[in-house]
């Protein structure tokens, strides 16, 4: 997909989401869903960039999201940093941790990276709940209860002021999406493509896999941490429940439905998943049962997600058109 059509699809999707609040008249449930769609679509896009394009089997995306959330909450609660500065500092902290995790990880073979990053997520919970976490102000198993909202130009973007917060998130979403498209279409994106096709050949041409992978790991960690921080100032409370398998699976469904390495399909996946997740909420425990089953069914039946389906459809129409043209040509020549 070229940069122009990527940008068009993103602009149409986010533009549509952006004008929806005008018609919804501030219905708090709908605004909450829309805001969550924006936040998750960026987090899932980062994961797609790492896994689908850079080819790093990182399963630590939720962990980075939570690290961003905790850093920003601790900065603003314990150290009284203004939230608007804290969210960017949280992004920076997450990027540093991402690079520290990435340094040993990226030298490993694919499946090992998945293991280490996933184990990292699992070890994060006892860390935050235990005495070490309490020492840095994580609040132990109780979590952090009163995270202050972001203040922007004297306006408080708390969960009671949904529309300003939504547009603030939208602006950040657009900036981050632009960064992702730029990365994909710069020589970095080309380098990833080359590395994916043949790592040895790309290396022989002087493409450094390690350098590019570490850079992209750092940048996506920054963005993920930033949005985790954004989320925590929006909801105001934080606990280690964010690290549950549920959150992980929801994020996984977005990328599975959207198609891995099919950016911006994952944005459509986020729209779909967040909506379905909210619609299924009254079903209690069966919601997760359905979500888990959904992953299995989608991976089996639609390996490339929605994007694969659309591509198949357009290819089919293209082929039909071409065959009709060739038949007409044949008939006219006869």
């Amino acid at each position: 997909m070229n940069a122009k059509s990527m940008a068009t699809i993103l602009a149409v999707t986010y533009g549509f989401i952006g004008i929806l609040p005008l018609f919804l008249g501030g219905s708090s449930i709908m605004m909450r869903i829309l805001t969550m769609i924006l936040i998750w679509s960026v987090v899932a896009s980062c994961w797609d960039l790492i896994m689908g394009y850079a080819g790093i089997f990182s399963f630590g995306q939720v962990a980075f999201y939570v690290i961003g959330a905790y850093s920003s909450a601790i900065l603003s609660v314990s150290l009284n940093v203004p939230p608007i500065i804290a969210i960017f500092m949280a992004g920076g902290i997450t990027a540093i941790i991402g690079v520290i995790i990435g340094l040993p990880c990226l030298k490993l073979a694919g499946p090992y990276i998945a293991l280490v990053t996933f184990a990292f997520q699992l070890a994060l919970e006892p860390f935050l709940k235990g005495p070490m976490g309490k020492a840095i102000g994580s609040g132990g198993s109780r979590g952090i209860i009163s995270v202050p909202p972001i203040n922007l130009f004297g306006m408080s973007l708390s969960s009671s002021e949904l529309i300003p917060f939504f547009y603030f998130t939208l602006v950040l979403t657009l900036i981050c999406s632009a960064v992702i498209v730029l990365i994909l279409k710069s020589h970095w994106g080309t380098a990833f493509l080359a590395l994916k096709d043949s790592e040895d050949f790309a290396a022989s041409l002087g493409v450094s896999a390690f350098k590019y992978k570490l850079l992209v790991f750092g940048i996506t960690s920054f963005i993920t941490g930033l949005f985790g921080a954004l989320y925590v100032h929006y909801v105001g409370i934080l606990s280690t429940r964010m690290l549950s398998m549920e959150v992980f699976t929801v994020l996984l469904i977005m990328i599975v439905v959207g198609g891995i390495g099919q950016y911006p399909g994952v944005v459509l996946g986020a729209v779909f998943t967040v909506t379905v997740n909210e619609l299924l909420r009254p079903m209690g425990i069966y919601r997760l049962l359905i979500m888990g089953g959904l992953v299995v069914v989608v991976v089996l039946l639609l390996p490339d997600g929605v994007t694969g389906l659309i591509k198949k459809f357009t290819d089919y129409r293209q082929a039909k058109k071409e065959s009709r043209v060739s038949i007409e040509k044949h008939e006219s020549s006869v």
Binding site: G110, F127, L252, L289, V299
Partner: protein, 290 residues
């Protein structure tokens, strides 16, 4: 002090032996099929629930003999058909490894939530396989622990015999060494893949039956068990069965000591630290090949 240390070593040995049983299953699947099974821990819980249904819910006569006699064929069938239906269609694609990881992750959530939906969120306790204690000088052993240790070691030996001395085992080894070559000499590769998956399901399910007597049947234990088996496999060297055996014992000991001296909450952090340090110096694990 001295007695304490001996007791910790014994508990580490006990856990390590069951972990070895489970980790070897995962090492086998990875070595042969190159597929990552994220739902591995869910089969551990499945074994626990299977025993609970038979022993507590239905109250069958014959106790654990009946459980093992029925659980092994049951787990084999489950594993065999899951591989045939879910994993094998993915193999046609280039990026099937990633797809298989995602699918099994979804499957694990589905199974774990399914257990909660079917049996409720409470822990279920299994009866002890043997009751009573055995005193040897200053040490007091639970007979149950001794039986668990003997059973898991027997399981390991059976598995090693199966792999080295039977036609099925040799076919499995041939496919692990060279899938194309194995196919040329007429080994049904697809069936070997499914059989390997099934054998690993048996190993982890039996591990579940053994350990659930001590740790209860817990629908939320799956992820922890999966990651433990996986850490052991990576630590020992992916696909190396001997490596997994040593790694399981080391991790079992580490857990027992860290749990006793620093508290249970630090176990996962300690295990991850050990893994990271090992992988930083030996990316292929203890006994893995480059």
């Amino acid at each position: 002090m001295f007695i304490e240390i001996i007791e910790i070593i014994i508990s580490g040995l006990l856990n390590g032996s069951v972990y070895a049983l489970m980790a070897i299953g995962l090492a086998l699947v990875y070595g042969v099929t190159k597929a990552f099974n994220f739902a591995y821990g869910s089969f551990y819980t499945m074994g626990g629930y299977f025993a609970w249904i038979l022993l507590v819910s239905l109250g069958v006569k014959g106790g654990y003999y009946v459980v093992f006699l029925t659980a092994i064929p049951f787990l084999f069938v489950v594993g065999y058909f899951l591989e045939k239906i879910l994993i094998s269609p993915l193999r046609k694609r280039d990026d099937w490894q990633m797809k298989a990881m995602m699918l099994t992750l979804g499957l694990s959530l589905f199974l774990d939530i399914g257990y909660i939906a079917a049996f409720g969120p409470n822990l279920k306790s299994l009866p002890d396989i043997v009751e009573g204690t055995l005193a040897l000088g200053p040490f007091v052993f639970m007979k149950q622990d001794i039986v668990i240790f003997i059973l898991s070691i027997t399981g390991l030996l059976c598995f090693a015999w199966l792999l080295n001395n039977t036609r099925v085992g040799m076919a499995v080894q041939a496919v692990a060494q060279n899938p194309v070559g194995a196919q040329i000499v007429g080994i049904p590769k697809e069936r070997v893949f499914a059989a390997t998956f099934a054998i690993s399901t048996i190993l982890v399910g039996v591990g579940g039956i053994l350990l659930s007597q001590k740790n209860f049947v817990n629908p939320q234990a799956s992820t922890g068990i999966m990651i433990k088996a996986w850490v052991i496999t990576a630590f020992g060297g992916m696909g190396s069965i001997k490596g997994s055996l040593y790694a399981a014992l080391i991790i079992g000991m580490l857990e027992a000591f860290v749990g006793y001296y620093l508290g249970m909450i630090h176990i996962e952090i300690a295990v991850l630290t050990l893994l990271l340090i090992t992988l930083a110096f030996r990316p292929q694990g203890l006994m893995g090949r480059e």
